[in-house]
Symmetry: C2
Subunit: 120 residues, 2 copies
Amino acid sequence: MPSFDVLQAACPSRSVLRHLTDRWTPMVVAVLSDGPARFGQIRGRVEGVTAKVLTETLRSMERDGLVTRTAQATMPPRVDYELTPLGRTLVTPLAAVRSWAEQHAEQVLEARARYDDTVD
Amino acid sequence: MPSFDVLQAACPSRSVLRHLTDRWTPMVVAVLSDGPARFGQIRGRVEGVTAKVLTETLRSMERDGLVTRTAQATMPPRVDYELTPLGRTLVTPLAAVRSWAEQHAEQVLEARARYDDTVD
DNA sequence: CAGGATCCTTTTTGATACTG
DNA sequence: CAGTATCAAAAAGGATCCTG
């Protein structure tokens, strides 16, 4: 079995890492970790995403095998998204990073203020 | 104490998360987790970064209080970077994501192939 | 060696209007 | 409702040349 290494330029794991760290991916995973959700529900919880970008994010996640998309051709339409088993293995790692951001935001903000203060 | 939530548009933790998921940040953290390193060493291990972008990444990390920068005004100059205590708390979470990317790259690649195959 | 300064290309993200 | 299509803006990233 090949060993993947993100430090290597040509390693495919880089494109995987890239997607995981897309702007909205960690948030979408956070929302879907609570269970399946409809497009509009996701959009409502992830403040600030536009429909277009959310669609792109979900499409990319679907392509990578992280979520499933179930559409019902009713009127109005209803589309449900759900994490796949693979996607679920991502919940913990991404939650850790997201949680780090929330729990250390204060310290980072202070560090920035200090840095910007030292006008050197 | 305020509660930070990345799902909220105006929450400062979003900009923190944004930086953590910058293209090169997880890789730089991975390299520095082995101990302090010089600019050139980091650049050598993180394949593909240009000096300009690596400088920007390190500067941003320094501003956020994640690394320290120690310059020696010798000729040629020597600059060492090292994770701060705060930066060190980031090693595990980021390593988990990076590790996920490496360990599931194969599955993701397969999922992509399947998706692209289904030309629907 | 470690960068700063410029210029430029690519990638992402967003605003808006429209549709099955 | 859940998108798509277009257009525009911004941001990130990169190539190249220069310097203490």
